[in-house]
C-alpha cells in the first residue's frame, strides 16, 4: 500500500485537532484536568516525536517502525482508525513522525512480555494487532525526564478470541505533561486486561476507550495511583458494551497526599441490543492529607435490557481501629500506615499475573509512598 492514504488520514487528524483544539474544563470529560490552562496546542505540535524502544523482542511478535514509509496492510488499515478519534489522539496522529506497530499472528501465544519503553518529549503512536486467538502481554514503561510534553495515541485491535494484557507504569515527573489515549476494539470472545500504575505529573491523563464489539468480549481494568506534593493523575475510562453477553470489570485504588489530585472517571455505556451484558466498577481513594483531593465519577448509560451494572466509589482516611491495633503490637506509626496503604492497594495489584511485572509495580508504589504520605507543605 502506498503512503498516500496514511498521509491523508494524518491531514484529516490535523484538521480535526485544529478545529477542536486543546481540551479544557468545559469539555465534559476534562473537567478535573484542564489541559488548555497549562499547555497550548503549539507546545504539543512542536514537541516532535517521542522515542520508543523494545529490548529483546520475543519470538513470534512482528514489528513495524512507523517512522518508515510503505506500511504493510495490517498497519495501514488500522492506524488512526480504531476508536472514536478524540482530539488529543488526533494530535498524536498528526504530529508523531514515528512509533511502533506490533502484530501477533493467528493462534500464537506469546508468554514473555513485550517491554515497550517510551522516553523523551513528543508525540507517539502505538498500534497492536492481535489476530484470532493470539495472545500477548504489553508492558508499557515510561521513562520520565524533567519537564517533558508527551502525547501518545495507542490503538489495540483484538480479533476474535485474542487476549491482550496491558501493564502500564508511569513514574513521577512533577514538571511534565503526560497524555495518553488508548483505543481498544475487541471482537467476539476477545479479552483486554489492563493495569495502569500512575505516579503523577504536573498533569497526567490516561484515557481508555474500549469497544466490546463482539459477543462475549471482556475488559478487565485495574489500577493504582499514588501521588503526593502537587502531582496530578487522571484515569478516565469509557467502556462501551456494543454486543451482547459482554463483560467489563474495573477496580481502581488511589492514594493522594500533600496537595495532590487523583481523578477517576468511569463511564459505562450499554448500547441497544447489548443484552445480557455485565459491568462492575469500583473506585476507592485514600486521602493522606487535608489538602489532597480525589475526584471519583462513575457514570452509567444503559440502552439495553437484562443488563447487570454495579458501581461503587468511596473516599476515606486510614481506619483508626486498624492503625491502633497495629501500633499496639509494636509497629511504629509510619510503618503501620504503610502496611495499611499496601493492604488498601493489594487487591488492585494482585490481578497482575506476571510476577515480575507485579513486583515492578510494587517497587514503583514503594518509591512513591514517602511523598504520598506527606501532609501539604
Amino acid at each position: 500500500m502506498s503512503a498516500a492514504p496514511r498521509e491523508a488520514r494524518r491531514a484529516e487528524a490535523l484538521d480535526s485537532f485544529r478545529v477542536r483544539g486543546m481540551p479544557h474544563r468545559r469539555f465534559e470529560h476534562w473537567r478535573y484536568s484542564d489541559l488548555r490552562a497549562v499547555l497550548d496546542a503549539g507546545q504539543v505540535a512542536q514537541a516532535g516525536t517521542a522515542h520508543w524502544q523494545i529490548e529483546g523482542l520475543p519470538h513470534g511478535v512482528e514489528t513495524f517502525d512507523l517512522a518508515k514509509d510503505a506500511a504493510p496492510e495490517w498497519v495501514a488499515k488500522n492506524l488512526g482508525y480504531i476508536g472514536n478519534r478524540p482530539t488529543m489522539e488526533e494530535a498524536s496522529l498528526a504530529f508523531a513522525d514515528g512509533g511502533v506497530a506490533l502484530r501477533v499472528s493467528r493462534g500464537a501465544r506469546i508468554v514473555e512480555p513485550v517491554k515497550l519503553q517510551v522516553s523523551h518529549t513528543g508525540n507517539l503512536r502505538v498500534l497492536v494487532v492481535l489476530e484470532e486467538g493470539a495472545s500477548m502481554t504489553l508492558f508499557e514503561l515510561h521513562t520520565m525526564d524533567a519537564g517533558l510534553v508527551r502525547n501518545i495515541g495507542v490503538e489495540l485491535a483484538l480479533a476474535e478470541g485474542a487476549e491482550l494484557t496491558h501493564v502500564r507504569c508511569a513514574p513521577t515527573s512533577p514538571k511534565s505533561f503526560l497524555i495518553e489515549h488508548i483505543a481498544v476494539e475487541a471482537a467476539d470472545q476477545a479479552h483486554y486486561i489492563a493495569h495502569f500504575a500512575n505516579f503523577g505529573s504536573r498533569l497526567s491523563r490516561t484515557e481508555v476507550h474500549i469497544l466490546l464489539n463482539g459477543e462475549g468480549a471482556e475488559a478487565h481494568l485495574t489500577g493504582v495511583t499514588v501521588l503526593g506534593a502537587e502531582l496530578h493523575a487522571d484515569v478516565t475510562s469509557h467502556v462501551e458494551h456494543v454486543a451482547g453477553k459482554t463483560l467489563s470489570t474495573q477496580l481502581f485504588k488511589h492514594v493522594a497526599g500533600g496537595k495532590a489530585r487523583a481523578v477517576y472517571q468511569g463511564k459505562i455505556t450499554v448500547r441497544e441490543g447489548a443484552n445480557g451484558s455485565d459491568s462492575r466498577q469500583t473506585a476507592k481513594a485514600l486521602l493522606m492529607s487535608g489538602r489532597a483531593e480525589a475526584d471519583l465519577k462513575p457514570e452509567l448509560i444503559i440502552f439495553a435490557d437484562d443488563v447487570k451494572c454495579a458501581h461503587g466509589a468511596a473516599v476515606g482516611d486510614l481506619d483508626a481501629d486498624s492503625l491502633f491495633y497495629l501500633r499496639s503490637r509494636g509497629i511504629p506509626e509510619r510503618e503501620a500506615r504503610k502496611l495499611l496503604i499496601h493492604a488498601f492497594l493489594e487487591e488492585a495489584v494482585a490481578g497482575i499475573d506476571d510476577g515480575a511485572l507485579r513486583d515492578h509495580v510494587w517497587r514503583d508504589v514503594e518509591s512513591a509512598l514517602p511523598r504520598a504520605m506527606e501532609a501539604a507543605k
Binding site: D319, A320, D321, S322, F324, Y325, L326, R327, S328, R329, G330, I331, P332, E333, E335, A336, L339, L340, H342, A343, F344, L345, E346, E347
Partner: protein
C-alpha cells in the same frame, strides 16, 4: 510493676474513669470485674495508648516509666500487650506478614536481630502449640473470615509470641464456647511467670474458674468499689453487681 493512681479519663467529653487506683506486682494475676459501661475497656485502652482517651488527672507508672507519655508502639516494645475484645480485621495483610512485622518491630526496638519469614513461621508453630493455628490461617488476611474462637486464639498466640511483661486481656472469654475458652485459658496459664503480670478484664466470673486470679478488683462508675481475693469473684457470681453498683458516688 504497674501503679495506677487516681486516674481520671474522659472520652468524647464524657467522664468514664473517675479516680481509679490500682497497683500490681510482677508475677501476679489481677482480675478486673464490673458491669457493662463501668470503664473496664476504657482502662485497657488507656493502658495500651489508644488515641481519643483524654487523661484529665492521675498517673500511671509502669516499671518506673510514665506510661501515659509513651506511644502505643513504645509501650508494646517495653512489654505491654493488650489482647482485644474485638480484634480488627485487616484485608490485604496476611496473618503471617502481620506477625512477622510486629515481632520484628518489637525486636528492633529492643536492638535484637530481625527474623526472616521461615524463622517467624517456626516460632509461631512452636508457640501456638495446642492453640492450633493452621498454616492456612496464617496465609489468610488478618482476622478476615475468622470465627470468634479463631480470633481469640490468634490473640492468645500473640501473647505467647511477644512474651510481654504486662498482658491485659480484655473480655477474652466473650464469644467463646466452653472448649475454646478452656483452650485459650490454658494458653494464658502457660504464660504465668514470676516476671509477668496479667490483668484479666471480664464481666463474668466464668473465665476466672480457668485463670485463677491472686486479686480481684470490682469497677463501677469509673472507680474501684471493692477488692479482694479470688473468693470475691465467686461472691459476685452469686449476688450480681447490683449491691456494689449502688455504692454512693
Amino acid at each position: 510493676m504497674l501503679e495506677i493512681k487516681d486516674l481520671h479519663v474522659t472520652v468524647g467529653g464524657k467522664k468514664i474513669l473517675k479516680g481509679l487506683t490500682l497497683s500490681m506486682k510482677a508475677g501476679e494475676v489481677h482480675a478486673i470485674m464490673g458491669p457493662n459501661g463501668s470503664g473496664k475497656s476504657t482502662l485497657s485502652y488507656v493502658l495500651a495508648g489508644r488515641e481519643g482517651y483524654e487523661v484529665t488527672g492521675g498517673s500511671v507508672s509502669y516499671d518506673g516509666h510514665n506510661l501515659l507519655a509513651m506511644k502505643p508502639e513504645e509501650r508494646a516494645a517495653k512489654g505491654i500487650f493488650l489482647a482485644m475484645q474485638y480484634p480488627v480485621e485487616i484485608p490485604g495483610v496476611t496473618t503471617l506478614t502481620f506477625l512477622k512485622t510486629a515481632l520484628n518491630a518489637q525486636r528492633r526496638a529492643r536492638e535484637e536481630s530481625e527474623l526472616d519469614a521461615m524463622n517467624v513461621l517456626k516460632l509461631v508453630r512452636q508457640k501456638a502449640g495446642a492453640l492450633q493455628i493452621s498454616e492456612e490461617m496464617l496465609k489468610r488476611a488478618l482476622n478476615v473470615g475468622f470465627s470468634g474462637g479463631e480470633k481469640k486464639r490468634l490473640e492468645t498466640v500473640q501473647l505467647a509470641l511477644f512474651e510481654p511483661k504486662l498482658a491485659i486481656l480484655d473480655e477474652t472469654d466473650s464469644g467463646l464456647d466452653i472448649d475454646a475458652l478452656k483452650l485459650v485459658a490454658e494458653g494464658v496459664n502457660a504464660m504465668r511467670s514470676p516476671k509477668r503480670g496479667l490483668l484479666v478484664i471480664t464481666h463474668y466470673q466464668r473465665l476466672l474458674n480457668y485463670i485463677e486470679p491472686d486479686r480481684v478488683h470490682v469497677v463501677a462508675d469509673g472507680r474501684i468499689v471493692a477488692e479482694g481475693g479470688k473468693e470475691l469473684a465467686q461472691e459476685l457470681e452469686a449476688k450480681g453487681y447490683a449491691d456494689l453498683v449502688k455504692v454512693p458516688a
